[in-house]
């Protein structure tokens, strides 16, 4: 069979149920193979949309997201999704077409050095040199994408090689001598960690996105409940511990809760699990958690002691390590009463500094109010909520309570505007039984707006709620706070007319401006079949608080 037909066989063998893509000259053979393959393909409207859709699919399902693009501009258009997936450890396999081998390096039509351009932003990549290697490479790509610390893998296939006949033999094993992720944590280290926990009086569990990827939420919850440990999480970890909950402190970091940040500041022991001490979490590194010792559990050894030196490093799979840590901790039978003072202190912070905002006295909708209304309208968060990037993302993280993992899909590390709509599309395809809701901003939404057509065409019922303040809100906030309110190119004006635009794309458009009926209006919009765009006009100049100014310490939170 042709190499491209073998690719289809490999996809089926990997259990791929849907792929996202966009055809072009260099991947014509692949698209010819799609005709008879019986592999479900979603034709997106832009390759970036395809990449983010594959990410949304992967984040919602835990399976590998797959996307196809042609050479040159098709490939350069997926650089952003690949980088995004790299930063947030999303398992992706991207197939790019490449010009014929005789044209390689000649500036041929639609030629780009895809392999070179994407090298720093992928977990691994393959440049096909011989068609016979294609089946093995495809399986290796899936294996690398999904195991260890997940990430994007790219396969670049010259057009002429992709159409050659090969002798296809199913590949049943993958042998990569240089790639052996460590899964089992060192048992001595785990025992040491249990003892440190048992001896700690002011512990905090600091959970990250690695717990989502490692499907370790149950183990985290069991450990937290056993030891009555306070739990905070990063933006990417929201949902791994149920909110609200007595032991839940809220998100930590720049826009986290005071309780979470103060607890980190005063902790004597911090257990980081699948988290990477990002600058948005630590603030000023030299003043970060100055009293704490650190246990750092991560599947990626390069994360350990990268930003904050670990006292007890444990390289391994979060699920396995946490389960063993719980056993060891239980065996020590420590007295939970030792944490009474700690909880008292935390409770005081919680009652003294809850998340709060000043609500409007008229019908104006405050953005925070919108998030709470959306939470209510979705039956207390019974949905997958995707977001874009900016103020609305932070308010969602603060005010929407996530009770389960894989229910909150956003771009954390790279902070990619335009991520939301395609990601919500991908999530809807991955989990059709759950409503897929997007909370976006009027800035972000326009960056991949074309995917509304994809939603309409395939009847993918994404409900997009625009927190519409007519500003690039987060940039405006920073200009207000740190640049003497010298607003520079952040006013987005009043266009487009979202309702008309939605209708033009074959979606339902709704405009909401009244606070009094907001929950009801949202509920009926969410109940409308097919894709829906809900334009909610909110307070124009509202700031996201509390906040740790960039480079400041947790103690110096404002707002």
């Amino acid at each position: 069979m042709r190499a491209v037909d073998a690719i289809m066989e490999c996809l089926k063998a990997e259990g791929v149920d849907v792929v996202f893509g966009y055809p072009g000259g260099a991947n014509l053979p692949t698209y010819d193979a799609f005709v008879d393959a019986g592999v479900k393909h979603v034709l997106v409207r832009h390759e970036a949309g395809g990449g983010h859709a594959a990410e949304g699919y992967a984040k919602a399902s835990g399976r590998v997201g797959v996307m196809f693009a042609t050479s040159g501009p098709g490939a350069t258009n997926i650089v952003t999704p690949l980088t995004d997936a790299m930063m947030d450890s999303v398992p992706l396999v991207a197939f790019t077409g490449q010009v014929r081998t005789e044209l390689l390096g000649t500036d041929g039509f639609q030629e780009a050095d895809t392999f070179g351009i994407t090298m720093p932003v992928v977990k691994h990549s393959f440049m096909i040199k011989s068609p016979a290697e294609i089946p093995r490479v495809v399986h290796e790509a899936f294996h690398i994408a999904r195991t260890g610390r997940p990430g994007p893998v790219l396969i670049d296939i010259p057009q002429d090689l992709s159409r050659e006949e090969i002798d296809y033999q199913p590949v049943t094993d993958v042998h990569l001598p240089g790639y052996q992720p460590t899964l089992e944590g060192n048992s001595k280290q785990v025992r040491l960690a249990a003892k440190a926990l048992a001896n700690s009086n002011r512990p905090v569990l600091y959970a990250g996105g690695g717990i989502v990827h490692g499907n370790a939420s149950e183990e985290l919850r069991a450990l937290a409940l056993e030891g009555r440990f306070p739990v905070t999480s990063t933006l990417m970890g929201l949902g791994v511990f149920p909110a609200p909950h007595r032991q839940w402190l809220g998100m930590l970091g720049m826009h986290g809760t005071r309780a979470a940040n103060y607890a980190m500041d005063e902790a004597d022991l911090i257990v980081a699990i699948g988290a990477r001490f990002d600058d948005r979490v630590t603030g000023k590194l030299t003043e970060f958690a100055p009293r704490a010792k650190f246990i750092h559990i991560d599947i990626d050894p390069a994360e350990i002691s990268k930003n904050v030196p670990a006292h007890i490093p444990i390289v391994g799979d979060a699920k396995k390590v946490l389960a063993r840590l719980l056993d060891e901790y239980r065996a020590l039978a420590p007295d939970p009463v030792r944490l009474a003072n700690w909880w008292e202190r935390i409770d005081r912070w919680r009652s003294q500094y809850p998340l709060r905002y000043e609500d409007s006295v008229d019908s104006e909708i405050k953005p925070q109010f919108l998030v709470r209304a959306l939470y209510e309208a979705t039956g207390n968060g019974n949905c997958i909520l995707s977001s874009d990037v900016g103020q609305h993302q932070m308010w969602a993280a603060q005010y929407f309570d996530f009770a389960e993992p894989r229910r909150w899909i956003n771009s954390g590390g790279l902070g990619t505007m335009g991520f939301g709509l395609p990601a919500a599309l991908g999530a809807a395809v991955a989990q059709p039984e759950l409503p897929s809701v997007l909370l976006t901003g009027d800035g972000s939404f326009q960056m991949n707006i074309q995917e509304l057509a994809t939603c309409a065409e395939y009847e993918i019922p994404v409900k997009a709620v625009i927190m519409d303040n007519g500003y690039l809100g987060m940039v405006r906030q920073w200009q207000e706070l740190f640049w003497q309110r010298r607003y520079s190119h952040v006013d987005m004006g009043q266009w487009p007319d979202w309702v008309k635009l939605a209708e033009a794309y074959g979606a339902t458009g709704v405009l909401l401006t009244d606070k009094a009926t907001l929950v009801e209006d949202l509920r009926s919009a969410l109940a409308t079949p097919g894709p829906v765009v809900v334009d909610v006009k909110v307070t124009r100049e509202e700031n996201t608080y509390p906040m740790i100014a960039p480079g400041a310490a947790a103690r110096e939170m404002v707002g």
Binding site: F115, G116, M119, P120, K123, H124, S125, M127, K129, I144, L176, P177, G178, Y179, K188, R191, L192, K195, A196, A198, N199, S200, D268, L269, K293, F294, D300, P301, A302, I304, S305, K306, P309, A310, H311, I312, P313, L332, P334
Partner: protein
């Protein structure tokens, strides 16, 4: 630190952090990689991204045709190499990395020097070459080309000796290295 098998809990004060600080010395990394396209770019890219300088780099085949060995020297005094070594380990095509201990390592470099050596000076130059066990491999009317092998320090010393005679140019391979004794590099 307390005995791990006992039930005694340790005090948090007993824990020491495994920090990644500059080591303050030169490092020779011997990296065994799959002989595949793009591997060298992946490796050098990791250094470039962090603004690290590679002092020398030598690539060559091994006894296994599917593998190549990259020998790379770095200044650990100015750059924390621990983080970059961990990143190197993550590359799928990297099979093995060894940070060679200077005392347990044989490291050699080949250098070619083109030296001005006219008339009576020529004998003096040749004398220095002999002391350093180098070889004259090309003779022209005004210049000599000298081949010399040895450790980094030896080549540096030779350069200092011959520079006053007038050095036209120099080419060096960068060090390659192998572990002493039975242990595999």
């Amino acid at each position: 630190m307390s005995d791990l098998s006992s039930k005694e809990t340790l005090t948090l004060e007993e824990l020491e952090a495994s920090a990644s600080l500059p080591t303050g010395r030169k490092h020779i990394l011997s990296i065994l990689v799959e002989n595949k396209p793009g591997v060298l770019t992946r490796i050098t890219g990791l250094f470039a991204r962090r603004g690290f300088n590679i002092d020398t780099l030598a690539v060559g085949p091994t006894d296994d045709p599917s593998l190549s060995r990259i020998t790379l020297t770095l200044d650990g005094a100015t750059q924390p190499i621990d983080q970059v070594t961990k990143q190197l380990h993550k590359l799928v095509n990297v099979i093995k990395i060894r940070d060679l201990e200077p005392d347990e390592t044989v490291a050699r470099e080949l250098a070619l020097f083109k030296i001005t050596a006219e008339g009576s000076v020529r004998a003096e130059v040749v004398e220095v070459v002999e002391i350093f066990r180098g070889r004259v491999v090309d003779v022209a009317r005004r210049t000599l080309v000298v081949e010399i092998t040895g450790s980094w320090d030896k080549i540096e010393a030779f350069e200092r000796m011959v520079r006053p005679f007038g050095m036209v140019e120099m080419a060096r391979t960068g060090e390659i290295a192998i572990a002493r004794g039975r242990s595999e590099t």
